[in-house]
Amino acid sequence: MTETVLETNGLTKRFGELTAVDHVDLEVEKGEFRSVIGPNGAGKTTTFNLITGALIPSEGTVRFNGTDITNMPPHERVHHGVGRSFQITNVFGGLTVRENVRLAAQSMYGDEISRREAMFRDKDSFDELTDRTTEILDKIGLRDRADVHADTLAYGDQRRLEIGLVLATDPELVMLDEPTAGMSSEETHETMTLISDVLSDQSLMLIEHDIDLVMRVSDRVTVLTRGQELASGTPEDIATNEDVRDAYLGGARDE
């Protein structure tokens, strides 16, 4: 019997007249690699934002490990175990690589730092935090570059750091928004390898429009069109699904 990590129920988001997401029901199981695909305007990114908390749904619920997180602000979702990475690399450019990771780790240590310590104790003097930071730097292979400013890193290394930030928040579910957008096939391969290495213990939910990629890496795939769920299933199921094929042919000019 598998455990459900994430569950959406009738998830709906309207912008004025436009219904971007229309009664979407999703279930992600523990340890699963789920992908959500669909043509442009299908509601992928909106769905992503509703789950991470960047947007609040018009209707429906989002449950995480049984807890209703529908109206929770993003930072609280992070503490419940929902991590996210950004499509466009979004790290703290003016800070060192180590400080980037340390900040993410510190966020999870919130309760162990007293108010007094938060104001007066040197941020680098928390041993547990330093160890955790080093551990993550090792995992993402940036330990030898730990003291340079993040914005001087090469693009690939910034992606690594990005994943490292997510990892440092110790998530159960990681939401990935087109992590390979704009990459060469080589870079794409590297990034996906990194993700499967580093995030092997986590449930993953990938928003992507690159079908080939999705088919390679996912356990299950959900296809959205016009805000609605068209089909869900294993990559093999999806590959043979007539509706999906029609939708993709219909939406091909958008790609």
Binding site: T52, H75, N90, F92, L103, I113, E117
Partner: protein, 677 residues
């Protein structure tokens, strides 16, 4: 006269004033929407229009002159606007709107001083043709024909602008640009080319407003200052970038001001011996209205709800923290040397036989703490409180009130100032930080204006005169001495109250700096820095960004309150008055000091405060037009040294390196200044 006729008359008055606001706010709003420029100099362009009209009408005579002026003066101001955009604002596109505040603040000083230089400070009367200034009675309603003229003329102009925006290709691009610039760029239109047009148009509209109002009232050098704040309020109330919002907001504010003024304080009956009356809130209403609207509808009445999500496009704040040429230990040594010099400065100054420079330094120390407090929010959370002087002012009032009514101990007075200001910061922060940056700026401005207007209203704050007549006890619970009675002779040096205060303020300033440095290097401050780097990312690694910003704002408010409290404790302060502490210009000044010194460095703004006050003192003794000079310095500074004084050493190093490497670009151009962006 019946109530209905009376009310109608008041409504006509309200609409008349409202139409002037419409002309002002329309330009301001479109400029903001399209260009992201918070144009503080809009009020001075308004005044400039009236003064041009005065000269034209003076040369041609009242009849022809007035009509000629109505056409020619706005064109002239439009040209001035185009020049301002071309030569000062254009180089700043892509930078954070904060720099426009500094720039246009400099322009305010420049234009205002030029007006004084050319036309003098006398209040002037702009002649209006006799047939326009006749009283007209219709159905028992008696107002001047000029009122109707103002309504019709400004109304027609507003309609014309509306049609221009709605029906022409230019207008549609401008409108689209004010909603979503990126989208306009994406469809291949070079929106930047339209900026000049928009700015010129906005300036010309403001000028028309100035002329029309000048004919109704009179022309004075302060007229720009008196309309700029209401104009901002209207823009925010109506929704940034919304023309309809500007029209609606302008009329609403015009009417509300007129009605509250007439019926405020009216007693309308007695119930069980208690007189019922409408509260007399004239002067406070529009600020309360704006705060209320923003809390319910943060995008303003007609604003685009998605507008605030555009945040990602805002240019980076250029903090002075990076690219320093000095190592930390060198910096520490320089800091220690500076404090050491300050510690022995009084002895050198006493050799001149008077206290004056100590009094000046006392002011510097107070403003240094004030600027430091601003840097905590502005340099580390990216929030720009346009009304930061509320804490300085309230702190001064609280400390003075404590010393007048409760105890003369300066420690308790300062403590009271800090606590009350921190509390106010918590309340204001809770109401405004969840909303986006621009609204935070405007809500804090509204609160500052609210306090400014409130102290005029109350007996216990001394009204327009302010508070005076307190003694300061240097100590607590009877242990200590009366500050003004201190006069010791130590090693041949006379220790005056000013010197005692100097060391107190110096210790507090250094302590504040060390405190700020401490928490910036602690977990709390590291989160603030992550917020200023990438706010969204900070949220998604699990930080409650709003809470952290609010805490920083509370610390900042308390510290600014202490600066204000010190003003009241300072032995050379004899009165705490509204204009001295709560006028919006002081919020502008402290932002200027912070940027001048180098934002995001903590010590930079403190240096900025010293340089600002020193420059003011020196310049004002050489020329009456010192504001013109200081304004020009700000403008040049924003353009060429955006990271502030503390970045000058590294700029010099860069300059030398680029000269050595025989690079064609020398010195200050944007790409080099921006190395890390």
């Amino acid at each position: 006269m019946t109530f209905v006729a009376d009310l109608t008359e008041q409504l006509i008055n309200g609409v008349t004033l409202g139409m002037v606001y419409v002309l002002l706010a329309a330009g301001l709003s479109i400029i903001f929407g399209v260009m992201d420029v918070i144009n503080f100099s809009h009020g001075e362009l308004f005044a400039l229009g009236a003064y041009f009209a005065l000269s034209i009408s003076g040369a041609l005579g009242v009849g022809v002159g007035f009509w000629t002026a109505l056409v020619v003066a706005p064109l002239l101001v439009g040209i001035v606007g185009v020049a301002i955009e071309r030569f000062t604002i254009r180089p700043l596109y892509g930078r954070n709107p904060l720099y426009h505040i500094l720039l246009t603040f400099g322009l305010v000083l420049i234009i205002n001083d030029l007006i004084k230089l050319v036309w003098g400070t006398q209040q002037r009367n702009l002649g209006v043709p006799g047939y326009l200034s006749q009283p007209v009675g219709v159905a028992g309603i008696q107002v001047s024909l000029y009122n109707y003229f103002m309504i019709v003329f400004a109304g027609a102009l507003a309609l014309g602008i509306y049609l221009f925006l709605e029906r022409t290709k230019y207008g549609m691009i401008v409108r689209a640009g004010s909603q979503d610039r990126q989208m306009v760029r994406n469809v291949g239109i070079d929106i930047d080319k339209y900026y000049t047009l928009v700015f010129g148009l906005g300036a010309a509209l403001a000028a028309v407003g100035g002329i029309v109002l000048g004919g109704y009232q009179s022309i004075s050098t302060g007229m720009g200052n008196s309309v700029i704040i209401p104009a901002f309020i209207i823009v925010v109330l109506g929704g940034l970038g919304s023309f309809r919002g500007a029209v609606f907001g302008g009329l609403l504010v015009g009417i509300i001001r007129t009605i509250t003024r007439t019926y405020g304080g009216t007693e309308f009956g007695e119930v069980a011996g208690i007189t019922l009356s409408l509260p007399d809130l004239e002067g406070l209403t529009i600020f309360l209205l704006m705060i209320a609207v923003l809390l319910v509808k943060p995008q303003g009445l007609f604003g685009n709800p998605e507008f605030q999500d555009e945040g990602g496009e805002e240019g980076d704040l250029l903090t002075g923290a990076d690219g320093g040429v000095f190592t930390d230990s060198v910096r520490m040594k320089l800091g220690a040397a500076a404090v050491g010099l300050l510690a022995i400065a009084p002895f050198a100054i006493l050799l001149t036989g008077n206290d004056y420079y100590i009094i000046l330094l006392n002011r510097v120390l107070i403003m240094a703490i004030f600027a430091l407090s601003l840097d905590i929010v502005m340099g580390y959370t990216g929030l720009v409180p346009l009304g930061h002087t509320m804490f300085y002012g309230v702190g001064a009032y609280v400390a003075a009130l404590v010393m007048i009514h409760y105890t003369s101990s300066f420690i308790i007075a300062l403590f009271g100032a800090i606590v009350i200001c921190a509390l106010i910061a918590w309340i204001v922060g809770s109401l405004s930080i969840r909303v986006s940056g621009v609204y935070f700026a405007m809500i804090t401005l509204a609160f500052a204006e609210l306090f400014y207007n409130a102290v005029f209203k109350f007996q216990f704050t001394g009204g327009s005169d302010g508070l005076l007549g307190w003694d300061t006890f240097f100590g607590i619970a009877g242990i200590g001495a009366e500050l003004n009675g201190i006069n010791l002779l130590i090693a041949g040096f006379e220790i005056t109250p000013n010197i005692v205060f100097y060391y107190t303020a110096l210790i507090l300033a250094v302590a504040s700096l060390l405190f700020a440095r401490r928490f910036m290097n602690a977990p709390f401050g590291s989160v603030l820095q992550s917020i200023s780097e990438a706010e969204e990312r900070a949220e998604f690694i699990g930080y409650d960004v709003t809470k952290y910003k609010r805490r920083a704002f509370v610390i900042s408010g308390g510290m600014a309150g202490m600066a204000g409290g010190l003003l009241a404790v300072k032995p050379s302060t004899f009165i705490i008055s509204p204009d001295q502490t709560l006028a919006w210009i002081h919020s502008g000044e402290v932002i200027v000091m912070t940027l001048l010194g180098g934002m995001g460095t903590l010590f930079g703004p403190m240096i900025g405060a010293g340089v600002f006050i020193g420059a003011e003192d020196i310049l004002s003794s050489y020329t009456e037009q010192w504001r013109l000079v200081i304004g020009t310095i700000f403008v040049l500074f924003v353009l060429f040294v955006p990271r502030g004084l503390v970045s000058i050493p590294s700029l010099l190093v860069q300059r030398r390196q680029s000269a050595e490497s025989d690079s064609p670009s020398v010195g200050f151009d944007e790409s080099e200044v921006n190395t890390h962006d």
